[in-house]
Symmetry: D2
Subunit: 310 residues, 4 copies
């Protein structure tokens, strides 16, 4: 039946302190495409190869972090299905009317055991990827791809107290697969869980934290390690605060750079990683190999990476 149900993290709303500073960061420097102007306290962005109107929403706030995130699901009927399934699971499901979010159909909303607000929607208007649908060619006009040349929103990593409950929910209600896990070598406690419903090694991941509703990072896809180095050049040029300079994750095998937006929210540019299927065996890392699991070029765990969240 192919990819059904939850397709991908189709929208993340990140809280930022200053709209103009954030526009410079996400628009000019990362190179996301600003697509909608509504409320002056919000900006809407998409990556160059995304068709839907927006995938990243910045919201002015005096507190950084993630406001909510939303999975796009395959069909409108999925919303009713998930509404029932989540209610049965014991969560309180709210209903959001079409149009409350710009260009978007109706949504359901609920709070994860980790404290995060999650939404699901099936419809969002399309703005396209800069190329026609008939005889599209392979590359949009000069300037459409710019800054760090990000292609699309790839995944998010969230922190919370009860990530095992999240894991159970994503498996049982959303039929997602645990691609990888990081466990304590002492007591097998799950410290991080990576979940996928696609061919990507992860769509969403959760890391154990002392408090809930924490935001670790939002990740943007790049085409190649050449573009990763190009992104690193821009990050250095603009003196964007870096958390982790280029490296390869053990988990996912993706190549990565981590850096911070002007409000202290962590961003990632990401490329590579293996092709995942539901029959791909789950990989388990334990804390004897925490360094290799996180940053496999030097096998060094980084405190900031493990402990700084917004």
């Amino acid at each position: 039946m192919a990819i059904r149900g939850l397709l991908r993290v189709g929208e993340v709303c990140v809280r930022v302190f200053d709209i103009e500073e954030s526009r410079r960061h996400y628009g000019e420097r990362i190179g996301l495409i600003e697509t909608y102007q509504g409320d002056p306290d919000k900006i809407y962005y998409k990556g160059s190869d995304e068709h839907d109107w927006y995938s990243l929403v910045l919201k002015k706030s005096d507190k950084s972090g993630v406001e909510y995130f939303a999975f796009k699901t395959h069909s409108d009927a999925d919303l009713d299905h998930f509404d029932r399934a989540l209610t049965e699971y014991g969560l309180v499901v709210e209903h959001i009317e079409p149009g409350v979010y710009p260009k978007s159909g109706r949504r359901i909303q609920f709070k994860l055991p980790s404290g995060h607000i999650m939404q699901i929607y099936a419809e969002k208007e399309r703005i396209g990827n800069g190329m026609p649908l008939r005889n599209p060619g392979t590359i949009p006009d000069e300037g459409y791809i710019r800054g760090m040349r990000v292609i699309r929103l790839d995944h998010i990593l969230l922190g919370g107290t009860d990530i095992v409950a999240n894991r159970d929910l994503f498996k049982s209600v959303f039929d997602m697969t645990v691609s990888e896990e990081l466990i304590s070598h002492e007591d097998e406690t799950r410290l991080a869980v990576f979940l996928t419903g696609s061919n990507k090694p992860h769509d969403i991941a959760f890391v154990l934290q002392p408090t809930g509703s924490r935001f670790h990072h939002v990740s943007f896809l790049l085409e190649s390690v050449n573009d990763l180095f190009h992104a690193g050049d821009l990050i250095g040029k603009y003196e964007i605060p870096v958390d982790i300079s280029p490296n390869r994750h053990g988990v996912t095998r993706g190549a990565t750079i981590y850096f911070f937006d002007p409000s202290g929210n962590r961003n990632e540019v990401f490329t590579g990683g293996y092709v995942h299927y539901p029959d791909t065996p789950t990989l388990t890392w334990d804390t004897t190999q925490l360094g290799k699991a996180t940053f496999s070029h030097d096998n060094l765990p980084r405190d900031s990476f493990l402990n700084v969240l917004t």
Copy 2:
């Protein structure tokens, strides 16, 4: 619900004239890993990052082409589901016992409108990707990745007379999505149809041909255009007959080289291409842009590519 039903083309059986010549081509030069020795007239291969025991079977024959191909499906119950659905659709479904194919569970088999023999199976034993499941690291031992450094079997392209019926079958029975189509600009006849049930721009494709059961190519995934050029270096070194030297497809946006095995079967090494979801709009190319649809760096259609099949 993530990826369900047909996961991927998990197995292709290609007919070759000479086993030793083919072993040199697919094993030493392409770098596939030979994993099973049974019948002396067959060889079984997998790509470096595939976990299942084999994905390519070479079978000695005096006629080149594709003997059969098989999709792996998510669960054993899918086999009963597809058995019923295919029978209702009007196809004759045969049942193959577990173990008839090495390391494989039961299968169903049927003939597509295009004349090709297709199988579906849910179980195949795993041999792994050269790395453990606990603390796997990111790269197997030296020598495991070799030759053209192919990662996995990516997709197949088949030729037949009634590709519209195939298209309908893959959509209605297998819930796959048409990612792209090539149509005649004169009468809108479908000349090629690209189908996906994953994040790949295609899992299988069909091209209109005057006769049925034709084999256009089997494609192997590479990591980067650097590896594509490295593959090209080996292809040139070993004087492997080339159909198309490096180029980028319009359809799929993948970077490609096409070449022939010693029996005249076409192989492809492939990298890149966009990330597909079921809500990605279908792209349509017409024959006014046949060159760009096939080879977008020079927009030149190639006769051999369009007309030579085995």
Copy 3:
């Protein structure tokens, strides 16, 4: 003593039919930087990482081809040295006053045995590479690198009748090294000669032609095969006529695409190739391997490449 005498092909003047069409091709599409506006029938360009004011001059003409080319030499005194040496060698040397060419010091000019007009100069004003000389950083501002992302003029290939005399002149007067040669396997006639005075596998090359003063191509350096594919994407998008889509040369081992400007002059984008030193052994290709010498991914010689010059 390091690199002394002739440093590089510092300037090529190519004849074009139409200035605006050529500006679109060389400026917008290839991405060269237009740096000087003088005579309305000329345009002056440099690559993004070149410091001198210009390296490519387009001159309006009703005949395509190369008007002249110029090597930059290390010191002003070299001009007197080469003046004497060339005169002794039997060539007629003309003197060009400083300022006749914009931003340029004095030059000497002479006609090669192949019929081409060659100049040598030691001084040209610098405009820089978009980055300061103190704490320069690693990447210029957005937009400075654009189009095909060419870094610099790399080399030229010229055609003429007496390329053996050119070879002798470049070796004996200019102390350059023959890096590679293509010879007839029947009678050892030299068909192409590749000369270098640097670490590049060639700075200039000559190919045997029935008539003199012919222009085969001017080549621009790219950073990676990723950028080569990006250039190919633009070439296809703009429907620039392609001579050879991506391939690797046997000679030089460089990765290449050849295409034509609107006046029919051949351009190349080029990346890679080995590191050459004067003690690197000369490589010889014979016509039994003409395909591999020219295009090593498929070992196919191309008629147009061998025979179309302006």
Copy 4:
């Protein structure tokens, strides 16, 4: 006159504690090719695309660091020229007979102001790069390029007290060019000097240290950032101690990984960097930008990198 006089660092002798451990590191893991077996306390290596018999010599010792390094010069007559020039400059020049070093012609040897032993030689026998000189093709046989896929020895960085005297010597006697310098922003003291006699952004560099004769690193050239990430994968796999994971230097613009051999000597794998000519302006970095000068992706200076030498 092309490249004359000193061509390149053609040989470095590094002291190591244990021969077998070092063979595993430099041979199996870095992938250098062992080419000579003489004295059991020495190993001789070359990179895959080097033609001379060896460029790296490991010598068993109970003290790590650099024993000597040697430039290859263009002609035998250069040795007499440099003998005179160095003597006039005030250095004591020793003469080493042909054959004292395996496969090598005569040498001259002297001590630099920084305390390092430097040699110059003009002749070394050639073993080739795994490809013939007639119709060589573009890629050697499988297995010739292995491990980290290093192409050649690229450059060395040495530490000493009087680097300004070294700088003067390399400029005045060897006609080399200062490509870049790092100076104190307080008093303009030169802290690091980068010298080139080729198109590379540096052939040799010196960094100010409290004591003389110190070894900072030997660097090996890679083809691409893809190969840099591949090297990083192997470094992580083998748990080779890493100094700096992937980053881009401000100085030279090269992409880099630094790691240590089993004796604590620093190695680098390096790719990219700009094309240098004698007329390229010297770039100056001051200590206000020490981070960007060293590691431009995060602009962070590293203590270990600045202060750990052997």
